[in-house]
Structure formats: structure tokens, C-alpha cells
């Protein structure tokens, strides 16, 4: 397992946003991502849509430094990722306060840490007094907010959201999606929003890239892609979105 290698790539000074050129991810002989290029500006949410096996999660994991890749990644300093499963992404033995301050480094005093934990929790719409709780005491939606807060603690130049609402119940999904949009607006966050659900992507994202078999088949603004799709595959995906009668 090569979880460790982290390619910082390019100029760290660029702050937010990322430019990806010809990204490739291989697992043994299998090419999961086959030459993907895109750009995400500061304060922009790019949706990455595709079906299972399209390579969308591999793109996210590569940018987060969790899988080795080839290609050029400029910017994206301190890239952070929020995962699909809110139950697997928090250490069950760690209090919420300790979890969200994990990325702050060791230079802070105990009080600064506590203050920062409270501030981060409030940023994601949680009460600051949750710091003393354990993950098991929180609902799925709250945990997903904690995972977001933890990622924000590292002041990421790029945030990767990998299917962050697909394990959540419908009634709390909306709140998490609203939060992603709010964070983009208030923090100028660059977000790569990976999802299989075009309706969700349409709601959250500014631009969308449609991924199929490791390649981007269509990329454009949300209105273009969902309103007048250019590629047959995109049309098929849109057709398949279940609709309320």
C-alpha cells in the first residue's frame, strides 16, 4: 500500500484552485484514469459525474495523494477530502474536538486549539459544545459536517467531496449540500464534487465534467451540460435520473 507518497507538485503559493493536466491513475495493468485534464478556480465547484468504474473516485484519491498518479497537478496545496461513509471517516475513539483539530499542527496552545475547534464546528453549522462528544453520539449528517470541519481546519486549497451525500438520508442531504455551497461562497473554496447523481451535481456545482471509462467525455457549465448535453452518454445519464411524478 502506497498511501504515503504525496506529490505536492507545482507552486504552493497559488493558494486556492487547481490545474490538472493529463492525469493518469493505474492499478497494476488497469488504467482507471486515462488522461484527464481540468481546472478549478478559487470559489468554484466542479462536479465530476460518472457511473461506477468511470474513474471518478480515483481522480479524487489521486489529487488527495492517496493513490499514486502520473501527470501534472498545479496548485491544490493541502488538498483535503471528505468521504462517502460518515461512519468510517471519524475515529470512533477520538472526541469531536480532537478530530477537527487534527490538521492544525502542534504549534497551538490548548486554548487556541479549543477555540479553533469551536470556530470550525460553527463554520459547518454545528454547535461548538459538540467538541466533547464522540462520533457515535452524532447522526450521519452531523458526522459529515464534522468531516468537513476537519478538512477546513487544514485551510485547503482544494476540497474533494467524494459522494458525500449518497450515504445520508434524504432529509439531511439538503442541509449538507447547502453547506457546501455556503462554504464555497464564504471561504472562496475550490471544490471537486464527485457524485453519481446528476440532480445533486446540478444543484451544487458551477461546472460539470462527465467521466466515462477514465476519460472526460463532456465538460461545461452546469446549465450547458444538464440543459443541452452534447454527448450521448450525458444524455443517457440525464434520462436515467429518476423523477418525481
Amino acid at each position: 500500500m502506497r498511501l504515503w507518497r504525496r506529490q505536492e507538485g507545482g507552486d504552493r503559493a497559488a493558494g486556492g484552485g487547481v490545474k490538472v493536466v493529463d492525469l493518469r491513475v493505474r492499478y497494476g495493468g488497469f488504467t482507471a484514469v486515462d488522461g484527464v485534464s481540468f481546472e478549478i478556480a478559487e470559489g468554484e465547484v466542479l462536479g465530476l459525474v460518472g457511473e461506477s468504474g468511470s474513474g471518478k473516485s480515483s481522480v479524487g484519491r489521486a489529487l488527495a495523494g492517496l493513490v499514486p498518479y502520473e501527470g501534472e497537478v498545479r496548485g491544490g496545496a493541502r488538498t483535503q477530502m471528505v468521504f462517502q461513509d460518515p461512519y468510517g471517516s471519524l475515529n470512533p475513539r477520538l472526541r469531536i474536538g480532537a478530530a477537527v483539530t487534527e490538521g492544525l499542527g502542534s504549534g497551538l496552545s490548548r486554548e487556541e486549539r479549543a477555540r479553533e475547534a469551536g470556530r470550525l464546528l460553527e463554520t459547518v453549522g454545528l454547535a461548538a459544545d459538540l467538541v466533547g462528544r464522540y462520533p457515535r453520539e452524532l447522526s450521519g449528517g452531523q458526522r459529515q459536517r464534522v468531516a468537513l470541519a476537519r478538512a477546513l481546519g487544514a485551510r485547503p486549497g482544494l476540497l474533494i467531496a467524494d459522494e458525500i451525500t449518497s450515504a445520508l438520508d434524504a432529509s439531511v442531504q439538503g442541509a449538507v449540500l447547502n453547506l457546501v455551497r455556503d462554504l464555497r461562497d464564504s471561504l472562496g473554496l475550490a471544490v471537486l464534487f464527485v457524485s453519481h447523481d446528476l440532480a445533486v451535481v446540478r444543484y451544487v456545482c458551477d461546472r460539470v465534467a462527465v467521466l466515462r471509462e477514465g476519460r472526460i467525455v463532456e465538460c461545461g457549465t452546469v446549465d450547458q451540460v444538464t440543459g443541452s448535453p452534447g454527448h450521448e452518454y450525458t444524455k443517457a445519464l440525464l434520462e436515467a435520473v429518476p423523477r418525481l411524478k
Binding site: 500500500m1 498511501l3 504515503w4 457511473e51 461506477s52 488527495a64 495523494g65 492517496l66 488538498t79 483535503q80 477530502m81 468521504f83 468510517g88 471517516s89 471519524l90 475515529n91 470512533p92 475513539r93 477520538l94 478530530a99 487534527e102 490538521g103 499542527g105 453549522g125 449528517g141 459536517r145 468531516a147 476537519r150 478538512a151 487544514a154 438520508d169 434524504a170 432529509s171 439531511v172 442531504q173 439538503g174 442541509a175 449538507v176 449540500l177 447547502n178 453547506l179 455551497r181 455556503d182 453519481h196 447523481d197 446528476l198 440532480a199 445533486v200 446540478r202 444543484y203 452546469v222 443517457a236 445519464l237 434520462e239 436515467a240 435520473v241 429518476p242 423523477r243 418525481l244 411524478k245
Partner: protein
């Protein structure tokens, strides 16, 4: 917590051993060391129940006095083994890739060496005597613990929170101490407890072989060693130390293993034991048989698990050719309702109420009738198919077992049904893993069609599938219902899926049906929960300039559902009546303040931070 006899027995033996370990040398120490040249090498007598040794010392007193040293040495050896093993097993987590692989390989190689051989080798290297034996047993128990540590650590390392920690720049050692070790500590401690029993046996073995404790010290193994030559003359002289080793060894092993079992057991849900008195099976009440066209009639279905009631008085009917949807969030009881309809509620769940399939109570149907009249489709087609059997063989089984067909007829029918569900005929000899997810689900539906199903129950049949595949599988379900005239229950968390495929929709919340509504009237639903649910799901027409609606709070867990409306604390319309009285399902809605037709759209009120109120505008109705 209730303990098993094995656990209780182990606890008693361990307690006895520990008491003896503390008291033994004080009470019997002097007696055990007293030389008596007049009575050497004697057998059983009233003065010496278990005889005497070559110094005329009492064997019983020596056995009891030896408890402390025996247990102490075993504990030392175990501690050494635990430190060595856990260190070795945790090492790969902090090493580079290549070194980690090397250490893992060494550990795996060492587990292949027989434990006693390793112990003797280590004891010889470390030198004969007490210290040597402790080192030997400690070293010998290390590989097993190292391997366990490695396996557990590898499991935790793949968790998302470890990936998150690495992205945040947390160092390897810190990841180990902060994330990995705390999460594997519990099973490790349990294994160490069990290892104590083995160490006790191991120490006794080494001493018996003369490699362990040397005179004038003595432990049980040493006593055995000294008495062994006399075993055919005075067998009672070895009874004391032999029994002691057995009792203590078995005690520690039993306690360790029952602790491990108790930890592995899923916890009993909170609130268990409240008001449980309903051990009834699906009863048939005379005079209730349905006269209607309903293929399925469910009346007052209630499912209990201990004192928890995840399904509370659910009633609905499904007519021939009708697709009824059940929608709800996780924990709403929708899947248990499906299982109860199939008679599949897992132990120790209990079912009360009536489930009538074509007017006949479920309990009165033979397995054959159930196997051919009812088809179930679950979320994971892989678990519904036997991975070791070819798809065609599995399908044919239904026909040979339940319909009495010959194998040839059954196979022909299997091919026909697979083709009917869009699986190519040549796939009949494929194994399940060779099919894609969508094809597998088609094969499961084909399996349901092997009989002559009057009811198809599909529980999240497309949740694991891609949307394009989902659409085709749902199309297929619709076609099957239309062609066969069977009724269907389609269960999903996705209200859009349910609404697009069903005639009628039941909305479940906290174990109850809170609303029953024609699918095309979902947008005009009357229950605040349904309205909020509909509003919270973005579709391709959602206004992007507005925040999405969401419902504050969370659905109560089954054990926390009490009197009153379960949705009350998340509902903008709730008042005292809602908190006090559980609303009945009247006119398709179970709500004290259902919305009238006029108030449609009111629940579009959003909540930007997830803490706002739902449907803040007038309550209508």
C-alpha cells in the same frame, strides 16, 4: 449481562487461582519447605494426602505454595510476549513500504514454527533456568500476537479516518498511537488474557522438561518434573501439580475466550426490556379473510426485537397488477416490513399481525406455495445467488423442487425466464460473479419468475446499481408486473424512484405509515414529513438560487419512539396534542395538522444551516 456457563466456570477457576497465588506461600510456605527425612517418597497417607517428595515435604502444600510462582512466571512471559508481539505487529505501520513487507513476512514465517519448538529453542538460547523459560514462552507467544496486531492494524489503516489523518499531514507514529492502537486495543487485550492460559501450560511444560525453574525454587512444572519418575508407583504425587496446571490453564483460557466472544457480540439496543410481552407469530384471525382482489393484505403488522418495536401496526393492501411503494429513511422500518411479508424476519425478531397472501395467512402457506407464489428481490443480488452454482442451475432448482419438473424441463424454463428478463440464454451457464450487477439483479428477478409469483417484493432492488442500469431494471419490474398480473411492493429510500414506478406510495417514519398517497399526488402530500422529504430532494428542475429544504434533527431510533407523533420534534406544526397523542392513519394521513390542498408549496421553506424549521408557513387544513 448474562454470562455463559463457560464464562462463569472460567471466572471461578481464575478467582480461585489468584486467591491461591496471593495466599499460597503465606499459608503453606513453611509446610512446603519443611524437610522430614523420616517420611521421604511416601504415597498417600492421612498426614500427607498427596504424599511427600524426596525431602519428605508435603506435595499438597508444595502445590498450593507453587501457585504464586507459576502464575507470576506465566504473567511475566505473557507480558513479554505481548510487548514483543504488539511491537512487531505494529512496526509495519510506521515503516516504509519495503521494510513493512519484510517485517510482515518475518512474522508470518515465525507463526509457521510450532510454538513449543520455538519456546524450547528460545529458552536454550537464553540459558536454562527461570529467566530462560520466561523468555522462551514470551518469544514463542509473540508471533501469534504480532500477526493478530498486523491484521487488526491493516483493517484500521484502510479506514477513511486514517486516510484523512494522512492528508492532514499527521505523521506515521502519531497515526499509530492516535488512530490505530486505540481501535485495536480491545481485541488485543482479550487475546493477551487468553494467552495467559497458554503461557501457564507452556511454563509448566518447560519446567517439566527440566528447562524451566531450577531447585530450590519450584513451580507446578518443576513439581511434576520431580515426581514424574514415581508416577507408576505413587500416581497421587503428580495429581496436585497436574490438576493445578489444568485448573488454572483452563480458567484463563475460558475467561479470555468468553471476553472475546462478549466483545464480538453486537450490543443489545438501548431500552431493551421495556414492555416486551408479545411473543406471537403471524396469527390468523377467523373472519378476517379478505374478499377483495388484494394479492397481499397486511393488517396491523408489528415487529418486535426484545423490547424494541421497529415496525408498529402497519396495514396496507396490494391489488393484482398494482405496484405499491414504501419509502422511508434508514430506520423507518420499511425493510423489516418487507421481510415480515416474506416471513423472513430474522431471529430473535417476533411478528404480530396478519399477512395474507391471496387471502391466506402466511403461516398457513406451505414452503412450496411460498416458494412459487412470492418472489423477493433484495438490494444485493450477489447475496441472493449462490456463488458456487451456475445461474441456470440455481434457477432450475426452484422448478425441480417446487414445481416437480424434470431437470430438462426446468432448464428450458430457466432459459426462457432469463431471456424474458433480458439475460442472454448463453449466460445460463455463467457463475454469478461473471455477471454485471444489473445482469445479476435480472437473474434474481428471473429466479422469482420461475414459479408463478402473485406478489413480488423488491427491497431497494436498484440501490447498488448505476442510474442507467437502475432504470432498465425498474422498467423490467414494471413489465413483469404488467405481464403476470402479480402485485408488487417496491421499497426504496429514494422517493423519486418510488414515485416514478408506483401507483400508490406508503411513507414510513419511525415504524409507522404516516401517509398513504397516490404516487402522482406526492407533490401535494398532506403530511409535513412527506412534504419536507419531497422538498429536500433536488431534481433536474430545482431552483438553484434557493437553498434546499432539509429537515432539522433526526428520526428517532426504534427504542426511543414513545407516545405522541414521532415526527413532532422536527415538525413546524407540532403542538401539545402532537406530543401527547399518536395520530392514527385517517384518510391516508397520520397527522394532527395535515396540510390542506391549498397550502401546497408552503413546505418549500428552506433552512440554510440545517437548523431552520420546516414548512414554517400556515398549517392550512
Amino acid at each position: 449481562m448474562r454470562r455463559s456457563p463457560a464464562a462463569r466456570c472460567g471466572a471461578v477457576l481464575v478467582a480461585l487461582t489468584l486467591v491461591l497465588a496471593v495466599l499460597g506461600p503465606w499459608v503453606w510456605g513453611a509446610e512446603a519447605a519443611r524437610f522430614d527425612p523420616m517420611h521421604t517418597l511416601e504415597g498417600h497417607s492421612s498426614a500427607h494426602w498427596l504424599g511427600t517428595d524426596d525431602g519428605g515435604r508435603d506435595m499438597l502444600a508444595r502445590t498450593l505454595a507453587a501457585t504464586r510462582l507459576s502464575v507470576l512466571l506465566a504473567a511475566l512471559a505473557t507480558a513479554l510476549g505481548a510487548v514483543l508481539g504488539v511491537t512487531l505487529g505494529a512496526l509495519p505501520s510506521v515503516l516504509g513500504e519495503r521494510a513493512a513487507r519484510f517485517v510482515t513476512a518475518v512474522v508470518n514465517g515465525m507463526t509457521a514454527i510450532p510454538v513449543l519448538l520455538l519456546a524450547m529453542f528460545a529458552a536454550l538460547v537464553a540459558g536454562t533456568g527461570t529467566a530462560g523459560a520466561v523468555v522462551g514462552i514470551g518469544v514463542a507467544s509473540a508471533p501469534g500476537l504480532a500477526r493478530l496486531t498486523r491484521t487488526l492494524a491493516a483493517g484500521v489503516e484502510s479506514a477513511d479516518y486514517v486516510a484523512a489523518a494522512r492528508m492532514l499531514g499527521t505523521g506515521r507514529v502519531r497515526v499509530l498511537t492516535r488512530h490505530i492502537l486505540p481501535n485495536i486495543a480491545e481485541p488485543l487485550i482479550l487475546s493477551v488474557t487468553a494467552a495467559l492460559g497458554y503461557a501457564l501450560l507452556g511454563m509448566a511444560t518447560l519446567s517439566l522438561l527440566g528447562l524451566g525453574v531450577q531447585p530450590p525454587d519450584y513451580d507446578w512444572g518443576r513439581l511434576l518434573h520431580d515426581a514424574l519418575p514415581r508416577v507408576y508407583v505413587d500416581p497421587e504425587v503428580i495429581a496436585g501439580p497436574a490438576l493445578a496446571v489444568a485448573v488454572a490453564g483452563i480458567g484463563f483460557t475460558l475467561v479470555g475466550e468468553s471476553l472475546a466472544r462478549a466483545a464480538a457480540r453486537t450490543p443489545v439496543p438501548p431500552g431493551a426490556g421495556k414492555g416486551a410481552e408479545l411473543p406471537l407469530g403471524p396469527a390468523s384471525r377467523p373472519g378476517l379473510s379478505s374478499a377483495s382482489e388484494a394479492v397481499l393484505e397486511v393488517r396491523d403488522l408489528t415487529v418486535f426485537f426484545g423490547g424494541v418495536t421497529p415496525v408498529r401496526g402497519v396495514s396496507f393492501t396490494v391489488a393484482s397488477g398494482e405496484v405499491v411503494g414504501i419509502v422511508g429513511e434508514s430506520g423507518s422500518g420499511k425493510s423489516l416490513t418487507a421481510l415480515a411479508v416474506g416471513g423472513l424476519v430474522p431471529y430473535p425478531g417476533r411478528v404480530r399481525g396478519d399477512v395474507l397472501l391471496e387471502g391466506k395467512p402466511l403461516g398457513e402457506l406451505s414452503r412450496k406455495e411460498l416458494g412459487t407464489r412470492l418472489a423477493m428481490v433484495f438490494q444485493d443480488p450477489l447475496s441472493a445467488l449462490n456463488p458456487a452454482l451456475r445461474v441456470g442451475t440455481q434457477l432450475a432448482e426452484t422448478a425441480t423442487v417446487h414445481l416437480g419438473m424434470t431437470r430438462r424441463e426446468a432448464r428450458a424454463r430457466a432459459v426462457a425466464r432469463l431471456e424474458r428478463t433480458g439475460v442472454a440464454a448463453e449466460r445460463v451457464s455463467s457463475f454469478p460473479h461473471e455477471l454485471s450487477g444489473g445482469m445479476r439483479q435480472r437473474a434474481v428477478i428471473a429466479m422469482g419468475l420461475m414459479g408463478d409469483p402473485r406478489l413480488i417484493v423488491a427491497d431497494e432492488p436498484t440501490t447498488a446499481l448505476d442510474t442507467t442500469v437502475q432504470r432498465k431494471v425498474l422498467d423490467l419490474l414494471g413489465e413483469v408486473v404488467r405481464d403476470t398480473g402479480a402485485g408488487a411492493v417496491l421499497i426504496s429510500h429514494d422517493i423519486a424512484v418510488v414515485s416514478s414506478r408506483c401507483d400508490r406510495v406508503l411513507v414510513m417514519y419511525a415504524g409507522r405509515v404516516v401517509e398513504e398517497v397516490p404516487a402522482d399526488r406526492l407533490r401535494k402530500a398532506r403530511h409535513p414529513y412527506t412534504r419536507a422529504l419531497v422538498a429536500s430532494i433536488p431534481d433536474l428542475g430545482t431552483d438553484r438560487s434557493l437553498p434546499l429544504a432539509s429537515i432539522p434533527g433526526a428520526q428517532p431510533v426504534p427504542s426511543a419512539v414513545g407516545e405522541g407523533c414521532a415526527f413532532a420534534d422536527r415538525c413546524g406544526f407540532a403542538d401539545e396534542v402532537c406530543l401527547r397523542e399518536t395520530p392514527a392513519l385517517v384518510g391516508g394521513v397520520a397527522c394532527h395538522h395535515p396540510s390542506g390542498e391549498g397550502a401546497v408549496g408552503a413546505s418549500k421553506e428552506g433552512s440554510r444551516d440545517g437548523r431552520g424549521e420546516v414548512a414554517a408557513e400556515g398549517s392550512g387544513g
